[in-house]
């Protein structure tokens, strides 16, 4: 007889098994890689959108795109950068690093982990598909202010709402997973106050996500029912109030700002001690400052709304609360400088990105403090000064931190060292591009140029040209980053297990590249 029982399953086509491997994976490292790849793809897409509208803004007059398409581009740029580039990048880093840093074999809920990633490509497919719909993509800014987004929003707004629901589910599930992992899977001896700062900041971030994302889901659901089911949450003629939208949105929105910053704080707190060859200064105060910032982030949302006609008492409360955030943030910056003080520093690419982060984030912090002064905010609000501020906070705080983290841990992930010379070129061209792009925005804003306008008066022409050239430089330089990462994955000088001579932490005790499963038996932490 020829027939006999098969002992192995039939061989699949290699492409099929490749796809299935990535679709079905429950390994924290592979899911981390998926998150990082998606994040970088969306980063390039949203960056390309910025380059499109910056091209339009290079000169006064309308040259390349219509006013409506300009609004679509700036809306999608904001949404995709926030939800598609920054947040998944941090979740990707968390997936890769948190289990290795706390001595866990994997994330606590691996299947949930797979699910929370694979929701995302569909969410962004929905959002991006709106570009090809009749009436165009959402065109009311990433802040989705009603009634522009409800009564006046294009039909594709519903796709945006559904997309945001999906992103929210993904973030909440991811956050739950991270909290459960950190609380349950720490190696023996790894007390909370011994956790690396990156783990600490992510723990706090995960709580922010769980508290903030449902609020966003709530507010976009209210948009949906206002649009289709006859409610009037934001419609004055039906007894509603457009400002309710802003209050609820910013109640989510301000914690969201720290969701996009806190893991960056953690990354800088990992990198700087390594290259200063000196322990992190003020570990405990770093932890307390992180928690304080997270707590304050829930009581400052009104500073986005000073011009909406708030009563004096509310304006004063939000002004004082906002100014207060400068104290814990200042503590962090001082601690980083103190960590560097009398160290023995070298300046490999991760360190450059970390220092770039501290310097430019601090500049963003200064303009944030200025914006908190309510009377002055009446002049700054909704001008390019705000655009400069938020990009000085977010680009160094989120993007530089993520890139620094990638350079820092890439040898551990791939087993290969990246090209140090190219990494430095990438850093310096990004720093120059960033400052060329966003520094002039302070001045055009102070001179009186509102944000989100497709065309502007003649006095703003010169600085806008600078900004556009900087934006193109900043955008194109990220292709170099892509090249460096691919080059490192494909080969290069072999990395040691330790990688960086004075790096500390459990992740450096495992081989480079890190094996598929780390810590089958939990390590002991002194």
């Amino acid at each position: 007889m020829i027939a006999h029982a098969e002992t192995t399953p039939p061989a699949r086509h290699p492409l099929v098994s490749f796809i299935l491997r990535w679709v079905l994976t429950t390994n924290h490292k592979e899911i981390g890689t998926l998150y990082l790849c998606l994040s970088f793809t969306l980063f390039l897409i949203a960056g390309a959108m910025a380059m499109i509208f910056r091209a339009e803004l290079a000169q006064p007059g309308l040259q390349f795109i219509t006013a409506d398409f300009y609004n679509q581009m700036l809306t999608l740029h904001g949404l995709i950068m926030v939800f598609g580039a920054v947040m998944p990048a941090f979740v990707g880093l968390a997936n890769w690093m948190i289990p290795m840093m706390i001595g866990a074999p994997d994330m606590a809920l691996p299947r949930l982990n797979n699910f929370s990633f694979w929701i995302l490509p569909f969410a962004f497919f929905l959002l991006l598909s709106s570009l090809f719909m009749e009436g165009g993509a959402p065109n009311f800014g990433w802040t989705l202010y009603a009634p522009l987004s409800t009564t006046y929003g294009p039909p594709s707004t519903d796709f945006l709402i559904f997309g945001i629901h999906l992103m929210g589910i993904s973030s909440i599930l991811g956050a739950i997973n991270i909290i459960v992992t950190i609380f349950n899977l720490r190696a023996p001896g790894m007390t909370l106050m011994k956790m690396p700062l990156f783990v600490w900041t992510w723990l706090v971030t995960a709580f922010l996500l769980i508290m903030a994302m449902p609020v966003l889901a709530g507010v976009v659901t209210m948009m949906l029912t206002d649009r289709h089911f006859g409610t009037s949450f934001f419609e004055a003629s039906g007894g509603g109030d457009p400002l309710i939208f802003q209050h609820v949105f910013w109640f989510f929105g301000h914690p969201e700002v720290y969701i996009m910053i806190l893991p960056g704080f953690g990354i800088a707190s990992q990198i700087i001690p390594t290259f200063a060859r000196k322990p992190l200064f003020g570990y405990a105060s770093m932890v307390y400052a992180t928690v304080a910032i997270a707590g304050l982030s829930f009581v400052v949302w009104g500073h986005h709304m000073f011009a909406t006609g708030m009563p004096l008492a509310a304006e004063l409360f939000f002004m004082y609360a906002t100014m207060l955030i400068a104290v814990p943030t200042g503590v962090k910056v001082f601690n980083w400088v103190a960590t560097m003080w009398r160290g023995s520093m070298t300046f490999e690419t991760p360190m450059l990105f970390a220092i770039g982060f501290v310097v430019m984030f601090t500049i963003g912090g200064f303009s944030g403090l200025m914006l908190a002064i309510t009377p002055a905010d009446f002049q700054y609000h909704d001008t390019f000064f705000v655009v400069a501020h938020l990009h000085y906070v977010l680009y160094p705080g989120a993007i530089f931190a993520t890139m620094g983290a990638v350079y820092y841990w890439l040898p551990k992930w791939t087993g290969n060292m990246y090209d140090e010379r190219l990494g430095k070129i990438h850093f310096w061209s990004a720093v120059i591009g960033l400052n060329l792009t966003f520094f002039p925005m302070h001045f055009v804003g102070l001179a009186g140029m509102p944000r989100r306008i497709v065309d502007y008066a003649l006095p703003y022409a010169g600085l806008n040209l600078f900004t556009t050239l900087g934006a193109w430089m900043l955008g194109l330089t990220q292709l170099l980053f892509l090249y460096i990462v691919i080059k490192t994955i494909r080969g290069g000088e072999k990395a040691t297990d330790q990688v960086w001579e004075s790096a500390e932490g459990l992740e450096w005790t495992v081989p480079s590249p890190a094996p598929h499963h780390t810590f089958d038996t939990p390590p002991r932490v002194e």
């Binding site: 000196k278 004096l312 200042g330 500049i363 909704d382 001045f443 509102p450 003649l458 006095p459 600078f466």
Partner: protein
């Protein structure tokens, strides 16, 4: 690069930026200039011309009147706000010098080549308490003057004059509540300038047909609202920025000491033409302001008489068409396009040849009249009946029914419009 060369470049750039014709060319000129400068700088050619040159690029019009900084403005409040801005800017600069100074010192002095043995300290309670307390004290110092100014800004009591400002896509409506005067204020920058066909004027995008007129030395209260989406009324020289929210009324006030013309813009994204919603305020001495109010009253009466005269006679196509074209280009063309082509589903075409199935301008006159006069709720198509006169409405509807090859031959008379009101 010698002085002459710099001069030449400056003129080129000036011409390129302010001029107008052929913006693509001007961009190329600017790019070339920048590249040339960059190259010569890389080549180590550092002379004075290079150092000064950026200033010319940045303010090619000599527009330094706008400046790099927040303006002092022309009211007590705007000056106080500028002072607060400067105080916080200098405090931040001071803190920045200390922090970055320490940081760059340590980067320089404590690099491995200079400082091979790292210290091991990692906490110091005394200094940590200190750098929590000192910033707190600085913040209190900043909060006190800010609170005092804010209290003054929010004091809307005892106004001498009230103006109701209503935003709508994309114009402002000003009503003087005490004088029963009201008018719309539209941007007058022609589409040809925006589309780079004509040279851009001095006040490109910052000019309107009817500026808001207010007197000097009196406390003017603004009440803000909106007919559709949220707008925001901002005049930087007054430091007044207040959102105009549909269904709600916000308050702000100003007292201007210096007569003059002050310009601002809508600062809340309000749809497609958000960039084209300027604010112009003309501040007149008190006696001239009173005379202006009187003029407005008389003009209103004359307009009433003219309207009666207009609807009592037949108008010809030759009279209505040119007027209709003017009205169309001023009020309708930004959405429906000067050639009636429209833009996508939101702004339908009016030229029948482009969209025969849906075009309203070759359908029944009654429906066309209704749409123009009463608008379409929940869209950018607003009700024009309150904004335009009988003759203007008749002219623009006649124009739409006969321009771009529509050629219906229909003439809509002002009387018809009057009766449809």
């Amino acid at each position: 690069m010698d002085a002459e060369q710099t001069e030449w470049d400056r003129e080129k750039v000036q011409a390129a930026v302010c001029s107008d014709a052929g913006l693509m060319t001007s961009q190329i000129v600017i790019l070339k200039t920048l590249v040339a400068r960059g190259m010569s700088s890389l080549a180590g050619n550092r002379r004075k011309g290079w150092l000064i040159a950026p200033v010319w690029w940045i303010f090619p019009n000599g527009a330094s009147a706008q400046g790099w900084d927040m303006r002092a403005g022309v009211t007590e409040m705007s000056q106080q706000v500028q002072m607060l801005h400067h105080v916080s800017l200098w405090i931040c600069t001071g803190v920045g010098i200390v922090v970055f100074g320490a940081m760059f010192y340590t980067i320089f002095a404590h690099r491995r080549s200079k400082h091979p043995e790292p210290a091991t300290f990692h906490e110091n309670t005394k200094i940590e308490v200190l750098w929590t307390l000192i910033p707190t004290l600085i913040l209190v110092g900043m909060a006190v003057p800010a609170t005092l100014t804010l209290r003054d800004i929010e004091d809307n009591s005892d106004a001498d004059l009230t103006v109701l400002i209503t935003g709508s896509q994309w114009k402002w409506h000003y009503q003087y509540t005490e004088a029963d005067i009201g008018f719309y204020s539209n941007m007058t920058t022609p589409l040809e300038q925006i589309n780079n066909i004509e040279p851009k004027g001095e006040n490109y995008l910052m000019e309107v047909d009817n500026p808001l007129v207010i007197p000097t030395n009196l406390k003017v209260r603004f009440l803000m609202s909106s007919d559709d989406v949220i707008h925001s009324w901002w005049v930087p020289d007054f430091a007044v920025k207040q959102d105009a929210i549909p269904g709600f009324i916000n308050e702000a006030w100003t007292r201007v000491d210096v007569p003059g013309i002050y310009r601002g813009q809508c600062t809340e994204l309000c749809g497609m033409n958000h960039a084209f919603m300027p604010i112009v305020v003309e501040v007149l001495p008190e006696d001239e302001f009173l005379a202006w109010i009187e003029d407005q009253r008389i003009a209103n009466e004359l307009a009433g008489d003219a309207a009666v005269a207009a609807r009592s006679r037949e108008w010809t196509m030759a009279e209505l068409m040119p007027m209709g074209e003017d009205v169309f280009l001023t009020h309708c063309a930004t959405c429906h396009q000067p050639d009636g082509a429209g833009q996508g589903i939101k702004y339908p075409a009016l030229a029948a040849a482009l969209d025969p199935a849906r075009v309203i301008s070759t359908g029944p006159i009654e429906a066309h009249l209704d749409r123009v006069m009463n608008g379409l709720s929940e869209t950018e198509m607003q009700a024009w009946a309150p904004q335009l006169s009988d003759v203007e409405l008749a002219a623009v509807i006649t124009y739409e029914r006969n321009a771009w090859g529509n050629n219906t031959g229909d003439i809509v008379q002002p009387l018809t419009v009057y009766e449809a009101r």
